[in-house]
């Protein structure tokens, strides 16, 4: 098999908002393929499964919950590669509010 394009890694270390994200994979019927159905925020795998069961349990025979930050991702596309030509990759925080943000007085 020939690779069509060069895949690059996609950042996956910070995937909690701030609770850790768990990627969900579901098999709806026995014998069918398993596929990705998004992610849930949960403190543990057991909690992620509980959350996922409420959302997908009515359909699924198998549910896998994988720590999002542990998934290595490679793609020929992605937000970061689209942004590569634009320079700085640091988040921008207003210096005036960078230390101890407070309500502005004037």
């Amino acid at each position: 098999m020939v690779e069509k394009e060069h895949r690059t890694p996609i950042e996956s270390g910070n995937r909690g908002n701030p609770t850790p994200q768990w990627e969900l994979f579901v098999r709806q019927e026995a014998g069918e393929p398993m596929y990705h159905v998004g992610s849930v925020a949960a403190a543990s795998g057991a909690e992620a499964h509980e959350h996922a069961s409420r959302l997908f349990g009515r359909d699924a025979v198998d549910i896998w919950c994988c720590p999002a930050a542990e998934v290595d991702r490679y793609s020929v596309r992605g937000l970061a590669s689209d942004a590569d030509d634009r320079g700085s990759d640091e988040p921008h925080i207003d210096e005036e509010t960078a230390d101890t943000p407070r309500v502005r007085e004037s």
Partner: protein, 405 residues
């Protein structure tokens, strides 16, 4: 979003094309000529906020979150939205003004043809910042205030927050920016509602959006502060009366309700009692075109790390991440059984939502509240306040199906 002033007073507004397919014939410039086919996208630009509000759906904090978009990533994300045809980008947070590239990003969004609007606590909006945002094409600033000064400051975790927010509102108005209030109604602040409208109308504000509490983020922790069904109904009825009183005096304030589509059915009932069957039919028809609760359809949310959510309140579940796949591809992927089920929710609703005559204008209200309250995604919305007679059309009669003339 349900506009009381549009439905009861026929007051045109720029958002009517999005909400009611009512652009044609309006005297206001409209956001879209056709009914909106793509979602309004709420973007939590940062987790960081200078306040710590008890009801924050985003769980915002004084500290920045890891994984926030760089300026370059943010621009690539805005391009994804423009490519997909999203009509509106709502810069939200955290507090979006803590990003020093906010003006640059609003400028970029406007250049791409997105309509940039802002959701802010208002406390960091100086005259200079308001003017800069206006100059790059910001179309609207929604500023959050949740009660009179003492109550608001307690809710927002910062003394002086009320006064600072009002200064932010005045700065926006002075800059000529369309500006509105965002007010989340809870048991703690329902009593302040009229006084806040009066106070802010006096400073020149003419748009007031009232949010019901949804049970996402820290909102879930204060669910016990939510109004009871009876109190909720009374608050909405008072807002209807207030809107009519202002309009009777010639003050054309715009009033809107967000987050509980039982309000849609209530407005039909209110229009019937106040104006008669014909007006109730007009209100119903507008609301049917509006399409009911927008979860997973007309509103989307992307958090500061790129996770795509069904609305801004659904932070606990993500359909995918825009760092992995473009936004439009994620939003269109109905192989996701949850997305598919929500978009066909009428087939799944149970209990009092399952056989309600107002299902086509409400669509079961908040599925998130149902999930948080019962664990069942398709159980009735616990904050529906309609009576059984209203749900069944047993009382004054039913206009569903167009029986009124």
């Amino acid at each position: 979003m349900i506009s009381i002033s549009k439905l009861l007073c026929d007051l045109d507004a720029e958002g009517d094309g999005l909400r009611y397919d009512a652009a044609e014939g309006s005297s206001k410039p409209q956001i879209t000529e056709e009914k909106q086919r793509r979602p309004v996208v709420v973007w939590n630009t940062t987790r960081r906020c200078n306040l710590y509000c008890s009801h924050c759906y985003a769980g915002a904090d004084l500290e920045a979150g890891a994984g926030e978009f760089s300026t370059a990533e943010a621009k690539a994300f805005l391009e994804q939205l423009a490519d997909y045809g999203a009509p509106v980008i709502l810069f939200s947070g955290g507090e979006p003004l803590v990003r020093d590239d906010l003006v640059e990003l609003v400028d970029y969004a406007a250049d791409l043809g997105l309509r940039p609007v802002l959701s802010s606590n208002g406390t960091l909006i100086t005259p200079e910042k308001a003017a800069a945002l206006r100059d790059v094409g910001l179309k609207y600033a929604g500023i959050s205030v949740d009660g009179l000064p003492e109550r608001n400051d307690e809710f927002r975790g910062e003394e002086g927050a009320f006064d600072a927010a009002v200064r932010g509102i005045e700065n926006c108005l002075d800059a000529g920016l369309k500006t509105g209030l965002r007010y989340t109604i809870t048991e703690a602040n329902a009593a302040d509602l009229e006084a806040v409208v009066e106070l802010l109308a006096d400073v020149g504000l003419d748009r007031f959006c009232f949010y019901h509490l949804d049970y996402g983020g820290r909102g879930a922790d204060i669910a016990d502060l939510d109004l009871s069904a009876t109190e909720k109904r009374a608050a909405v009825e008072r807002l209807c009366e207030l809107t009519l009183e202002y309009h009777d005096r010639g003050e054309e304030i715009e009033t809107l309700l967000v987050g509980n589509y039982a309000d849609a059915a209530f407005l039909v009932e209110y229009a019937r009692e106040t104006f008669g069957e014909a007006k109730a039919q007009v209100v119903y028809d507008h609301l049917e075109r509006n399409g009911g609760d927008p979860t997973g359809e007309r509103v989307a949310d992307v958090d500061y790390e790129g996770n795509v959510h069904l609305t801004q309140f659904w932070q606990g579940y993500s359909l995918g991440n825009v760092r992995d796949r473009p936004f439009g591809e994620i939003w269109e992927d109905e192989s996701n059984p949850l997305l598919g089920a929500l978009r066909n929710r009428e087939e799944h609703l149970t209990g009092r939502c399952g056989d309600c005559q107002y299902q086509s204008i409400c669509r079961g209200g908040s599925r998130l509240r149902a999930l948080a309250d019962t664990g069942d995604l398709f159980a009735p919305d616990p904050q529906c306040y309609l009576t059984d007679d209203e749900r069944r059309g047993d009382g004054a009669g039913s206009i569903v199906g167009g029986t009124a003339d």
